[in-house]
């Protein structure tokens, strides 16, 4: 029987990993991911999880030890955040290019400088091009569930691509919720031990992580790219099986809420979605037709889902907890690209928000919706704006 427990996002994720039974864990502590590695160390130390925990001396070593382990056909987990993810940079395309299904938890945190341990998405957005699948979860329950789903997805023979599961630092990693814990037996049936031919073995020795010259390189990349085309189907299949077995599912690449006849839609990523839904309910109660679209996966990107938004939508706003300095938020770039692929002309506006843990209030969100309800102004006005910005508060240099 499944049971319920109060757990933080980190704890829920760690518990999901325990249920997934990784054979090898290689991770290095960093706030706000630390609780995950502490819990996993406890599970291993207490014999509750039969796993080889490698106490690496850095994140670079964490990801490269994970590569070595996954290259042996072992189910492998790592976790990090921000500076640690950046330190792993070299290893990320290494793992994805060699098609080893490592699963990583990333606690989204701002990147220095200025130093900040608080939440935004600048860390993971830097690695949209790394060849990893990226999924962002909203609450502790989804965190636990996605820990399990991520292994199933990464290790699927049609996928064989590493998965990064992103949890908003503190907002989600350190917030307690009632979480339903699935039965180990059910999880075992959903996620059997990882089996693959794509590994080094004494019976069938091979060379891996090879070099490829200009004469073949593009073909490798072409295949890696186009394999993503069928990931959405696999994600759908896995999620519906999960729903059947555990009574919970999350849709596929994205999830629309009250978008049916909406005039304005906000795109969200991660834990902010809950507040946005509440604002949508409030506005709907006032007869204002708005909706929210939670982008769960950013790679593969929910292009089709975005193009399926109803004709009623007259303006789209994007809440971007990241910024490509000098240009715009990265989610905004991707959303506009999706719209242009489908030749849909809908005015869009980028709302840079929550950088370094800056609060986003329901009132902020309400104001954004009200602004979006004037599509002509959206069409004409500034495309990139900052939410809850207080330039007047800057410290006076002269004391």
């Amino acid at each position: 029987m499944s049971k319920k427990e109060f757990m933080s996002g980190d704890e829920a994720f760690a518990f999901g990993v325990k249920l997934a039974k990784p054979e090898v864990i290689a991770a290095y502590p960093i706030t706000p991911q630390t609780i995950v590695v502490e819990r996993l160390s406890d599970y291993v130390a207490d014999g509750d999880l039969d796993s080889q925990y490698i106490h690496v001396e850095s994140e670079h070593s964490a990801i490269m030890a994970a590569l070595g382990s996954s290259a042996m056909g072992a189910r492998t987990f790592t976790a990090t955040s921000s500076q640690g993810l950046l330190y792993m940079a070299e290893g990320l395309p290494y793992v994805s290019g060699s098609r080893f299904p490592v699963v990583m938890m990333n606690a989204n945190r701002a990147t220095a400088v200025p130093w900040s341990i608080y939440n935004d998405h600048n860390d993971s957005m830097m690695f949209l091009n790394s060849g990893w699948i990226q999924v962002y979860v909203e609450d502790a329950q989804e965190a636990l569930d996605m820990a399990i789903q991520a292994f199933r997805l990464a290790e699927d023979p049609r996928v064989m691509t590493p998965v990064m599961v992103n949890l908003d630092g503190f907002v989600l990693t350190h917030t307690y919720e009632l979480v339903e814990i699935p039965d180990q037996e059910l999880v075992d049936r959903f996620l059997p031990p990882y089996q693959t031919e794509h590994k080094m073995s004494l019976d069938a020795p091979k060379s891996v992580c090879i070099g490829v010259g200009p004469e073949y390189h593009m073909e490798f990349r072409y295949r890696q790219h186009h394999d993503f085309d069928h990931f959405p189907d696999v994600i759908r299949e896995i999620d519906s099986e999960y729903r059947e077995k555990f009574g919970r599912g999350y849709g596929v690449l994205s999830e629309q809420y009250r978008c049916e006849d909406a005039e304005a839609v906000l795109m969200t990523v991660g834990s902010i979605t809950g507040s946005v839904r509440e604002v949508v309910d409030d506005l709907r109660a006032e007869g204002i037709r708005v909706g929210v679209m939670k982008l769960r996966y950013l790679r593969p990107f929910p292009t089709e889902d975005i193009l399926s938004l109803p004709e009623s939508v007259k303006a789209i706003g994007v809440l971007d907890k990241n910024l490509s300095y000098g240009y715009e938020g990265t989610v905004y770039t991707n959303v506009n690209s999706a719209l242009s692929r489908g030749n849909r002309r809908i005015p869009t506006k980028d709302y840079i928000c929550g950088l370094g843990g800056r609060n986003i209030s329901k009132e902020n969100i309400r104001q954004i919706y009200l602004e979006l309800l004037n599509p002509a102004a959206i069409q004409e006005g500034e495309k990139v704006s900052f939410v809850n910005l207080h330039l007047d508060q800057e410290v006076d240099k002269n004391g």
Binding site: S58, M200, P205, V208
Partner: protein, 298 residues
Amino acid sequence: MAENKKMTLNNLPEEELFFGHKACPGCGGSLTLRLVMKVLGPNTFVVVPANCMSAVSFYYPAMNFGCNALASAFPCTAATMSGIEAAARAKKLEDYTVVGFAGDGGTADIGLQALSGAIDRNDRIIYICYDNEAYMNTGVQESGLTPFGAKTTTSPAGKVQHGKLTHKKNLFDIITAHGIPYAATASVGYPQDLINKVAKAKACQGTSFLHIMAPCPTGWSVPIDSTVSVAKEAVECGLWYLAEYENGEYKLNKDPKEFTPVGDYIRKQGRFKHLNEDEIREIERQRDATWVRIHEKW
């Protein structure tokens, strides 16, 4: 059992596990790998980070290892091996070896952190540093193991700077300071000694480390048929030493009563051509200091 018989140059297995690669003629690094792999045998998982040896052997579609091999990133030979070893443990594999071949740069510079971590965990891996005394793969730049005075493309023999400014890092001491179960220095000039040490490393239950002098004719500007003799001369003139560290004890495998002149060794190599007598004396002074320390401490 062949396993228990002492391996010698005469009874080494015929089977080649590193062959068909594109290393330069006379390459000391590839000679090292060839010999070591014969001792370790086919049940081996090899890690080679970015360096000359991976560049000449992992180039699709020609793969040049006759066993499992992974071309890893430059800084993390040891960490990649740790991952392989952990997975092998998880899968309860038996009768296998995990070995890594990193260059001097991949070991003493960019790879030192990962190596230190692996020794600290005492993972059962064999870490081999083949030392050609510069970053050869990228076209001969100085490393922490490039000797004093040697000319590289980043320590040129210029008008005011005469080659590498500082002495070779004392890598062996750095490694033994960890209290590693087994560490040794060796040289392609002394293949039997090298084979013995590889066999010991293979039997070691924790981390083992071999630092092997492996001349590079291309980077050192020496004739391609002189790799072995140059390697021997380095030991004879006291600029390299053959030693072991086992169970906390040091041992010299060769303790020359008298050194051949450093000048003879230096003058044969294009990379030292620019050095003056004072600079050669400085190299001798440093050598003597090293040996005083060795004799006092060991």
